[in-house]
Symmetry: C2
Subunit: 695 residues, 2 copies
């Protein structure tokens, strides 16, 4: 029975991939517009490819080194070639998802622009379709990989062991490694191009955004794709895979004495699998005829999918599986639903703090009247304040899910939150396509109503992007927590097996992480500052890369005769190359830090200090990430609120003050904040994978 569900889950994963292919071919059949539009679009495609090629070259080296370590040092660390194989496949699957999603989005943008010439509804269809391709590719590849490795490593579920599940975890580790590079590198790329281009173009030269005379404009468009599509996709691929594997491991540990244990291992896969089908159903509900329906259309899709997931989970928990003795299906159901509900609520809270329709953003706009300093102060204050409620709801989800399902329940609530990823990622990844479509309309000199239509798609996309970011952080927190539980459980097992650490065990058999012991305290404090250091590095990286971009754009304005008059073409490829090089170079140090920190501390101070460090990093990262993402989003929309006519509108002194806040917010919301999601998950996965080294 359990085996059937595993196979059905695999089938659903394949269905997601087929759906993605179907949507892709549907998009490609659309009219790609006139020759000029196609030419601009081609440049963005080439630029995006160039970045991915450079990034993946680095990645290949990194992945091979880590895989080699896993194979050769594996003997001592209980890792071995199986885990290394899954690791490589996880990395490849995530890379492939990013590549395909970006391949689609860079082609969908121009078709969205063309569709916007006729109607808003058609344009939404293309843009959202492209988002769906990303969403479905991510869930499809992640789930099929997990099902495959589970099937083979457990001998068709007949031989579920700790070491087998550890090897499956390698898949998640592979995904994490890619995510680090994609999220951090992509984040640096997109903001270096954006900030650098704006500083010279908008502020110094006084030309509008997306003006074809600005040499950085193509790099900026590429950045939307590599950062917001591929980066976000890789981030959530990791969360998705990580939460499922964590739940599988915890299900094994908690119920291994029971003959029905396999059902607890397969359940997370099954919930995710049915979540895919529900997401497909939900995506049919996304339809809008005019502007006013836009946002509700996207939200409707998410709610429809969530309701179907709730029903499907109810069935799975209560009727489909034979659960271990003493496990009440309804309890697992409630645990899963708590995460699903928390995700939607956190999204709505993020909306409140970052949308121009509510008081916080309007207040920041009003404070811009006394200049950039008060704009910044109030933006920071809003960001600080916005941390409380999302964290409180994460806590509520933890409390509820633990109350009903113990540690396994907490992991299932992460699975529940991410079960609708197929559609929630689509809602999110449609934004950059709309953004690019607008840029294309501007650069190709299309009529005003086209730009107006893409603008309303884009504005809505900004809100959904903010919601998506809230969702990404919430799910990262729960996933990291689930992985952390797996860490504690596994560490306890290993300590018991080694026979040396009886005083390091809690009564429940997990490793004892008593805050009031010196190593754990030191770990907590060190973990606490790592996200700050990481953020400093990523912020600086954007600054450094943006500076190079500024110099290049200035040089071109100065040296290319006739550029400002529109008689000569800017050298956009040079800017693309600079952004690429900057991003790749600058992501190495923070990347190494994320992988090395748990290894070094675990070796130096042992497993309890490492546990403390992971907890400290979790606490610190979640707070900082929410603060940064929301402050950035709020500044962005405060500027847009003023551009829409408040406090003197575009071009006035209040607007200028708001632009400062927006520029500060750019690396906050698109680089440093989201990168922290990866930091906590990756450090925890590294901790789990390399645990045997520390004991």
């Amino acid at each position: 029975m359990d085996l059937n569900f595993l196979l059905v889950s695999g089938a659903c994963a394949v269905a997601a991939l087929l759906f993605a292919l179907f949507m892709f071919s549907k998009i490609m059949k659309k009219d790609p517009g006139d020759a000029k539009m196609q030419e601009i679009s081609r440049r963005v495609q080439v630029g995006a490819n160039a970045f991915l090629a450079a990034e993946y070259k680095w990645l290949a080296v990194f992945v091979l080194i880590v895989a080699a370590i896993m194979v050769f040092a594996g003997h001592a660390a209980d890792l071995g070639p199986k885990a290394a194989g899954a690791f490589v496949c996880g990395a490849m699957a995530s890379a492939l998802a990013g590549y395909f999603g970006m391949y689609t989005s860079t082609r969908a943008a121009v078709r969205t622009t063309q569709a916007a010439r006729t109607s808003l509804g058609d344009a939404l269809g293309v843009a959202f379709g492209s988002g769906s391709v990303m969403g479905m590719t991510v869930v499809g590849l992640a789930l099929s990989g997990l099902c495959l490795f589970t099937y083979f490593y457990t001998d068709n579920l007949t031989n579920i062991t700790e070491s087998a599940l550890n090897s499956v975890l390698g898949f998640s580790f592979g995904a994490s490694s890619i995510a680090l590079f994609a999220r951090v590198g992509g984040g640096i790329y997109t903001k270096a191009a954006d900030v650098g281009g704006d500083l010279v173009g908008k502020i110094e030269a006084g030309i509008p955004e997306d003006d074809p005379r600005n040499p950085a404009v193509i790099a900026d468009n590429v950045g939307d794709n590599v950062g917001d599509v591929a980066g976000m996709g890789a981030d959530l691929f990791e969360s998705y895979a990580g939460s499922i594997v964590a739940a599988m491991s915890l299900g094994f540990f908690a119920y291994r004495a029971d003959p029905n244990m396999p059902s607890m291992v397969v359940l997370p896969l099954a919930v995710s699998a049915l979540g895919i089908l529900c997401s497909i159903i939900g995506s049919f509900a996304v339809k809008a005829k005019d502007e006013s329906q836009l946002q509700s259309a996207l939200f409707r899709g998410l709610v429809v999918a969530s309701l179907f997931v709730a029903g499907a989970t109810y069935w799975l928990c209560n009727h489909a599986f034979k659960l271990p003795a003493g496990v009440d299906g309804m309890n697992i159901f409630w645990a899963t639903i708590s995460g699903l509900a928390a995700g939607v609520i956190i999204g709505k809270i993020t909306d409140y703090y970052t949308s121009g329709s509510f008081k916080p953003v309007q207040n920041i706009a009003a404070q811009s009247q006394t200049g950039p300093a008060t704009n910044i102060i109030h933006g920071l204050a809003t960001g600080f304040e916005s941390v409380a409620l999302p964290v409180l709801f994460v806590c509520a989800a933890i409390w509820v899910s633990f109350h009903f399902g113990g540690i396994y329940g907490v992991a299932m609530s992460a699975v529940g939150m991410l079960s609708t990823l197929g559609i929630s990622l689509a809602v999110d990844a449609y934004g950059p396509v709309a953004d690019n479509a607008g840029g294309l309309a501007e650069m190709a000199g299309l009529p005003k109503e086209v730009r107006h239509r893409t603008d309303s798609l884009d504005a809505c996309g900004n809100t959904t992007a903010a919601i998506g970011k809230g969702f990404a952080i919430g799910s990262a927190a729960l996933t990291a927590l689930a992985l952390f539980s797996a860490f504690c459980t596994k560490a306890g097992e290993l300590l018991k097996a080694s026979g040396s650490g009886a005083d390091m065990l809690a009564p429940d058999g997990t490793v004892l992480l008593d805050i009031n012991s010196v190593n754990v305290t030191i770990g907590l404090l060190i973990g606490g500052f790592l996200p700050f250091l990481f953020s400093a590095m990523t912020m600086r990286a954007v600054g450094n890369a943006a500076n190079k971009m500024v110099e290049e754009v200035r040089r071109q304005f100065r040296e290319i005769k006739g550029l400002m008059e529109g008689k000569a073409e800017p050298d956009t490829q040079r800017c693309v190359a600079i952004a690429t090089e900057g991003a790749i170079k600058q992501m190495i140090v923070p990347g190494i830090m994320a992988v090395a920190a748990p290894l070094v501390l675990g070796k130096l101070l042992g497993v309890q200090a490492l546990g403390g460090m992971l907890a400290g990093a979790l606490v610190s990262s979640v707070m900082l990430a929410i603060f940064m993402s929301n402050a950035g989003g709020a500044w962005d929309n405060a500027k847009k609120h003023i551009e829409a006519g408040a406090f003197g509108g575009k071009g006035g002194p209040v607007h200028k003050a708001a632009v400062v806040g927006d520029t500060v917010g750019d690396p906050f919301k698109d680089t440093s904040g989201p990168s922290l999601n990866i930091l906590i998950k990756l450090m925890t996965v590294v901790g789990v994978i390399f645990l045997p080294w520390f004991i």
Copy 2:
């Protein structure tokens, strides 16, 4: 023998008070300058008095309510009238120290100005003397209170019990309550006046800082005294008392089975007492003839005092006391010294990140060339980065002190760090006096060389203020940790006594705070966001109060005829009243939050969740506080670096960009950042004091 040391400690405390009185009378004998200077100085004195009177009215109400709760609800909670009495005395002692320190500093400023008419050395003497009065009053009152209550509550050390020490802890709680109001209220006051005055005066009206035509200028000067003298003093009073009481409690718990236990209780008092004498010795080493010797003179004083403390501690640990069996005096010595050394090192690191002589600040100044946005981005990045090293050294102190002396050792390292407080606070509190002296010289229209001398005193004061802030945070972290250990130990005792919580105990008898248990995790996360919420409130508070100030200054410029021409007087008292009212009003909500949060969570989710919350708040507060203080200091000095001639100097576009960063940094470094020191200590003290309620 132990009793003798207790009495000697009390005598040293009295000596500190006598030294303060001696310095005070020496300052008062100095020439207070001409009639105009005296008149301006009188206004600042009146304004400062008005604020303290308003603040202390609120405080009296608060203290009486809490004392009443402690007396009446004390029966159930093992608090009672003894603890309440100590609480009231602690509050009064801290308030008195603040009042006397401020009384002195507001009178010393004008005498510093007058002395600067003749020589720099004389001016330094007066300003540093005023700082010494503050420093010695704080340590004198704190230590004499602690000695007194220890003497009476333990029946001359013959009957040291948990309940007696708990009552002594009431003294520390009283000090914490005052600190909250003094630090938060004072912080809001000083920045509301500063930001509000600058926004209209410097930016809108284009008149220089400290111009007598600006109605907010007196309020600004008052703010320096209430925020940087009284607020800082109350903050460190609390750390000082808290760290000593925590060490006493832990000494009792750890060694109560041994007949020599009392020596471990008296040792923290004795180290602090000899620290006072060493500080007095050190303060004689502070002498400078010209500018170049200034900073080294102050640092020399601190180093001399530290070396003497090291010697005194060696003697105390190895020869003076009869220690419990198995305790090696050298171990306690090293534990104490680790804190002393960490304090000096953290101060130096803070100096590196915030002084214009080093790369970080120069880099921020350079980045101001591309406008305020890049200035802000790099200031934030510098702040983020600056968290790592200080926390690492706090960790090192924890590791070393625990290695040598266990939990008692950690508490002793906090005592060691604060043992030189008499002089380190003097070095710090001399800054605002120099700052005020400069303002007075400007307002009284004194010759340029006077202003030049006070400026070099002030510039040096800025650096020492930054170092003082680093020291305040470091000591707050160690103190909070020591109090947290006391919390865990006491909670364990109470759980054991109640007989109900065997599964809630760690093997060492303290309460079990396993991170991997759901309540602790939830507590950690909730504790993690509280400092963010608290910072949002204090940042907003400054903004709101500053806005009122802006309106008032604008009104006066508009309505008072002849003000701008210097023919009419501004209504400075109105501005003082606005700042006072704003500060008092805005500090209530954050204040209530700090006291209520541990009570509510402890009642709702129990003692383990509360422990998690305290740890989460500790981690989050320390990081945020260092980030904010250092970012603020760095922005301030980046501006000063440009004013000194870099990148086009004062008045240019680069300077304007740097002013934005400085304004953002003001509430960071003087309000929100330092307030977090209070938040962690106060929450932990509340947790310890009210522990019986939660079990």
